[in-house]
């Protein structure tokens, strides 16, 4: 069997064994409903409370400001649709976001557009960064919300969130950030950075899939996305996913315990990878080299289409991606690469390699060994190459 090199940690990560271990008792022993009075319910409640504190600590929030959701997409939908609907009543029907947000944000915005909201899509420029000044210029008296992602999921660029937060606070406009890719990679402090709402998702930092959270600044009130029972302070109904919540708590604590140490190790591997890959002629790195997530490398190779590249890498035991995971299977080129100004044929041909703690120098070696001959082979087949 070929050794598997999993290099798609931006799509999802393996659940850490320590996280699985923390979760296990909650399936078969501490399986009570946290809303129940009796002991087995209260034990589950303690697990949930503890995890809520872990999440709060990781981003500088209060535990009462953390609401568990089924993942990043739900958190994005809830924050954006909720704030929009709450402020529409006050005549604020304008929303600001960027052109290269995750589809959970963009499609929520589109759904609101259909309801009559107006959406401004800010440009992101060739370096993959939003300009704070553009945010300031776009804000109007009827602006309800600014939503700018903390770090992009395809090209890994880290946005100037503290600057944008300061602008929004000064102008009195609410600010949401999709921090799904940033947790454990960037120092996040929602208070210091003036963030009003923040989405996160467990499976991006070795926590379980299907669990996430919305941080929502104290006092902010907006309609629920999921109505029903009194869970999550009456704001998100549904019996709590206790093992998932406990796993999320354990994972976020591990991921944020030593961010500088964690990212230094990952970034060293990533930098060697970038330098090696850019030896391939007519290859390029997409997105700013400095302001980028420690584990992210996103390349284009002229004359090559992305899916073929991935399949050939898979045949060598290397798991990577082209565009984002949730749009593969679609024929569309990456909206992110189009947003930073790449032409269509190149936006079809990107390769994202995303590393995490679990990767090793051997993984980097394996990629650097496998990739050049595959690129060569595909180029030899390509009618676009050398013409």
């Amino acid at each position: 069997m070929t050794r598997i090199v999993y290099a798609d940690n931006a799509a999802t990560t393996s659940t850490a064994p320590s996280v699985v271990k923390a979760m296990l008792p909650y399936f078969t022993e501490l399986y009570g409903n946290p809303s129940s009075l009796y002991t087995v319910g209260q034990e589950a409640r303690e697990g949930v409370d503890h995890a809520r504190q872990q999440v709060a600590d990781a981003i500088g929030a209060l535990s009462s400001e953390i609401f568990f959701t089924s993942g990043g997409s739900e958190a994005d939908n809830w924050a954006i649709k909720g704030i929009a609907h709450a402020l529409a009543a006050k005549g604020k029907k304008h929303l600001i976001t960027s052109a290269f947000e995750h589809h959970a944000v963009l499609h929520s915005m589109e759904a609101l557009q259909k309801e009559g909201f107006e959406v401004t899509l800010l440009p992101v420029y060739e370096n993959g960064l939003v300009k704070p000044q553009d945010v300031a210029d776009a804000i109007r008296p009827d602006t309800a919300l600014v939503s700018i992602m903390y770090a992009n999921n395809e090209i890994g660029t880290i946005q100037p969130i503290p600057e944008i937060g300061a602008i929004c606070r000064e102008k009195g406009v609410l600010f949401h950030t999709d921090a799904v890719q940033a947790i454990g990679m960037v120092d996040i402090d929602v208070k210091a950075q003036n963030i009003d709402l923040l989405s996160l998702s467990g499976h991006k930092f070795h926590g379980p899939k299907g669990i996430g959270a919305l941080y929502c600044r104290r006092g902010l009130r907006f309609p629920n996305l999921i109505d029903g029972g009194a869970q999550e302070l009456n704001r998100r109904a549904g019996t709590e996913n206790v093992p998932g919540i406990v796993g999320l708590g354990a994972a976020i604590q591990e991921a944020t315990a030593d961010i500088p140490g964690r990212t230094a190790r990952i970034q060293a591997m990533r930098d060697r990878l970038i330098d090696g890959v850019l030896q391939i002629p007519r290859s390029r790195l997409n997105g700013d080299r400095q302001h980028r997530l420690a584990g992210n490398a996103n390349f284009c190779f002229e004359g090559i289409e992305g899916e073929s590249l991935l399949l050939m890498l898979d045949a060598k035991g290397i798991a990577a991606s082209s565009g984002s995971a949730c749009t593969s299977g679609s024929l569309d080129p990456s909206h992110v690469l189009l947003a930073i100004g790449l032409p269509h044929e190149i936006a079809h041909g990107s390769l994202r390699i995303s590393l995490s703690d679990v990767n090793t120098e051997e993984d980097v070696d394996a990629i650097l060994e496998a990739l050049p001959p595959i690129v060569e082979r595909l180029r030899a087949m390509s009618p676009l190459w050398e013409r």
Partner: protein
Amino acid sequence: MAYSEKVMDHFSNPRNVGEIVDADGVGEVGNPKCGDIMKMYIKVDGDVITDVKFKTFGCGAAIATSSMATELVKGKTIQEALQLTNKAVMEALDGLPPVKVHCSVLAEQAIKSAISDYYTRKGIDPTPIVGPIEDCEACHLH
């Protein structure tokens, strides 16, 4: 996604990749905006396609359908090759995922386009024989 074994075989070991320098007909379909381009070269002796080669920029299915299409027409008469449908290519590959059907359409069109070129070069109007070569429907959705 989940390609069949046949697709993966033709993707991993594509038959007839390359160019024919002295081809009797060359066709190219698709466009880079869609992310798929197929270029086919044929060599014709009498009315038999004696050799065929392709170059493809595209997904796994695009490469596999190119490979299979060239296999299916090689050694056939032009008349037989014109009967080749995208369905036949798909069947020969044990099927394709729904989003990838358009790739088999491209392969059918690439063959037709090369035959058209062959007739054009001979000074024969290809349209009554080959019919119009329409863009793939999926292509228009973009």
